[in-house]
């Protein structure tokens, strides 16, 4: 089943924003609603933004009112540097439980739930297999708070899937992502003049390109993929190989014993290495991505190509600095652009896009409708959503036909 009416939670994250942009291009998606407690961080065209956290009662009302058939949960925090442990737990575990609660229920319109998870589910340990497949469990209980949260969140999703057999539940476990627009602990680490490593270890590393991040989410939204899927680029690099692709030396500054203490000391140098990353720097991790490939997804970039693209970006980063100011969400501007009849041309999203003739035709059709006349043409007709205006634009010939019918019916 392809998604038609989509709710994206965490639309303010990089992942959610890029997914919304990708879905906007697809005309078969009628409605896209993005929720997040924070402002969107990328420019959205016809996505409706609602400022709401993970309060399940509110989400439930949105889901039912908008007849959402697909929920994509992109909120998961996968980097313990970005949020304090308590906030991360609140978001990752309690948040997931709440979002799932909003999707469930006997009369729920939701048919598909897609959850962004992380390879931190598997952890990184000495006796790991070289490639994790989806049915493998981690050999030891989680070591860090973040990994514990990811495992707990997945447990909740699993329980939800068994309770709701009618809903397709997709869990996507993403490897570490890399790309020009992403800011993670890994992009920070690889952006240093030398790549820090643990003395005596050359871990295996796998990355997924930022374009594949939303590519995979979009693929899951379009197709029916029940179960768990690993999402990681083809190929596994040694950290030394990553450093040489970046044209940087490998700096074994962390001792093999007392690594945590040394990493703590490095914070004084403004280098923050989160505990889950220390494990990876020691033992590395790789995922088997073949299940997702068998489900029809084609990765745009291999791990090596991802690192190369990142290296290219690093070289021109300094020169690009200051070029093009970042996007800033302004509620009033977005609403004006969406709803004002005064907006025309390419910038316009609402009724302003219609030509004078089309507007006149529409007015005639509305005149001809039985019942009380609407006071004004603009806001209510478009109020059903920005997508409503799109259907009006694309469907203008048939709507004129409809107007003719209405005229005939109203005539006698």
């Amino acid at each position: 089943m392809s998604a038609r009416r989509v709710l994206i939670t965490g639309v303010s994250t990089y992942w959610g924003g890029r997914l919304a942009q990708a879905l906007e291009r697809d005309r078969s998606v009628e409605a896209i609603i993005g929720v997040s407690p924070d402002d969107p961080t990328c420019e959205l065209d016809r996505t409706e933004f609602v400022r709401v956290g993970t309060q399940h009662a509110l989400l439930r009302r949105i889901v039912r009112a908008a007849e959402i058939d697909t929920v994509v949960d992109t909120r998961l925090i996968v980097d313990s540097v970005t949020a304090p442990p308590r906030a991360a737990h609140e978001n990752n575990v309690i948040g997931t439980v709440n979002v799932l609660a909003a999707c469930g229920g006997a009369d729920s319109p939701v048919r598909k739930v897609i959850v962004k998870s992380s390879a931190h589910y598997y952890g990184s340990e000495r006796d790991d297999p070289a490639f994790f497949t989806e049915d493998m469990e981690r050999p030891h209980p989680p070591r860090t708070a973040l990994e514990k949260d990811v495992v707990e969140a997945e447990r909740a999703v699993e329980a939800f899937a068994t309770r709701n057999p009618g809903i397709t539940v997709t869990v996507l476990r993403f490897a570490n992502a890399l790309g020009p627009d992403l800011r993670t602990s890994h992009t920070a680490l690889l952006g240093l003049p030398a790549v820090p490593s643990i003395l005596g270890f050359d871990p295996r590393y796998q990355f997924i390109h930022e374009d594949d991040l939303h590519g995979v989410l979009e693929h899951a939204a379009r197709h029916t993929l029940p179960g768990v899927y690993n999402a990681a680029g083809d190929g596994v690099l040694a950290l030394s190989e990553v450093a040489s692709l970046l044209g940087k030396p490998l700096a074994p500054v962390l001792p093999p014993w007392g690594t945590g203490l040394a990493a703590g000391a490095m914070r004084a140098l403004r280098v923050r290495i989160p505990p889950e990353m220390l494990q990876q720097l020691r033992y590395g991790r790789a995922l088997d991505n073949r299940r997702l490939k068998a489900a029809g997804y084609h990765f745009g970039a291999t791990t090596r190509e991802t690192v190369q693209a990142f290296a290219e970006h690093q070289r021109v980063r300094e020169l690009r600095a200051g070029e093009g100011a970042g996007y800033q969400y302004e509620r009033e501007v977005e609403e004006f652009l969406r709803w004002s009849p005064a907006v025309r041309g390419d910038e316009g999203l609402g009724l302003g896009r219609l030509s004078r003739d089309q507007l006149a035709e529409l007015a005639r059709a509305l005149d001809a409708l039985p019942g009380p006349r609407p006071a004004r043409l603009a806001p209510r007709g478009a109020g059903a959503g920005a997508s409503g205006s799109d259907t009006l634009v694309t469907g203008s010939p048939s709507s004129s036909g409809g107007a003719a019918d209405a005229e005939l019916a109203a005539d006698p």
Binding site: S2, D288, T302
Partner: protein
């Protein structure tokens, strides 16, 4: 409804082998972490010398190693820091009509130890995880070498030399059968004299965190020189492959049957080892 709507998940193929990552020709390190460069360097500087001049390896039955497809090589294991794995790998490289890389399964212990972890991975060591062995044998159709005796083989003392220990619990038979590949038993003589273990020190083992702490003729009193091998003559005999395709379905869950086959293979290797020892006149000259 648009053409895109309601597509079922397209399934080009369910065989995981068709979805292995393509080979990137610019790379000199494999996805397993094996480095062509380091492996070549060690081969030229050390293995070449040991194989030809120090141990003067003599190889029989190399034709039993299949030229294509996966195969599980099973050998006896001995000596404090056993050179047998690299000698078997070198034998296939030198003598086989179609030289192929050999993947050595190693204890997980190595992955946790600084420097060793890097080195072992780069020269072709793969942690002995069943999933790793299966991927190599079944999906990638590679040669894999296992020592079912494991650490029990390397920690045995000189007086117990060439007495094969228990062959695990038949795990290697199961691995080969699940992958549908033959087992090639290998008998190696010489490794146990190259670096004999005179005693084991439990206390030092615990203190150093090593898997065992051996006393050899040269270690630990000669320090780093203790890593030197004595020039024992090596003989490697590859035995006819044991097919595992008769094992399928329920037979795979029959631990008793797997154990039986493992014991049978152990017996064959033990017989061949004794046969080679019976033939040789000198430990050093062969």
């Amino acid at each position: 409804m648009s053409a895109r709507a309601a597509l079922p998940a397209p399934a080009p193929s369910d065989d995981p082998r068709h979805h292995l990552p393509a080979i990137e020709p610019d790379r000199r390190i494999s996805d397993w972490g094996r480095s062509e460069r380091i492996e070549g360097l060690v081969d030229r500087t050390l293995v070449e010398f040991l194989y030809h001049y120090w141990f003067r390896c003599e190889v029989e039955g190399i034709e039993h190693v299949p030229p294509t497809g996966g195969a599980l090589l099973v050998a006896n294991h001995g000596g404090a820091l056993p050179p047998d794995a690299s000698m078997i790998a070198k034998a296939i490289k030198e003598e086989h009509s179609r030289p192929r890389p050999l993947h050595l399964t190693v204890e997980h212990f190595f992955k946790g130890y600084p420097f060793l972890s890097m080195f072992v991975t780069k020269i072709g060591g793969v942690p002995a995880h069943p999933a790793n062995v299966h991927r190599l044998l079944h999906d990638e159709q590679q040669l894999v070498l296992v020592f079912p005796e494991g650490a029990k083989g390397t920690e045995k003392l000189f007086k117990d030399r060439y007495k094969l220990r228990r062959f695990g619990r038949g795990g290697f038979v199961e691995a080969a059968a699940r992958a549908g590949v033959p087992i090639v038993p290998v008998a190696v003589v010489g490794a146990e004299e190259a670096m004999p273990t005179i005693a084991q020190v439990g206390l030092l083992k615990r203190l150093t965190g090593l898997i065992y702490f051996p006393i050899t003729p040269l270690f630990p009193h000669l320090g780093l020189l203790g890593a030197a091998y004595l020039p024992a003559k090596f003989r490697i005999r590859f035995l006819p492959p044991v097919r595992t395709d008769r094992l399928a379905g329920e037979a795979l869950d029959d631990r008793g049957l797997l154990q039986e086959i493992a014991d049978e293979i152990r017996g064959r290797i033990q017989d061949e080892v004794l046969d080679i020892i019976g033939d040789r006149r000198s430990v050093w000259l062969g």
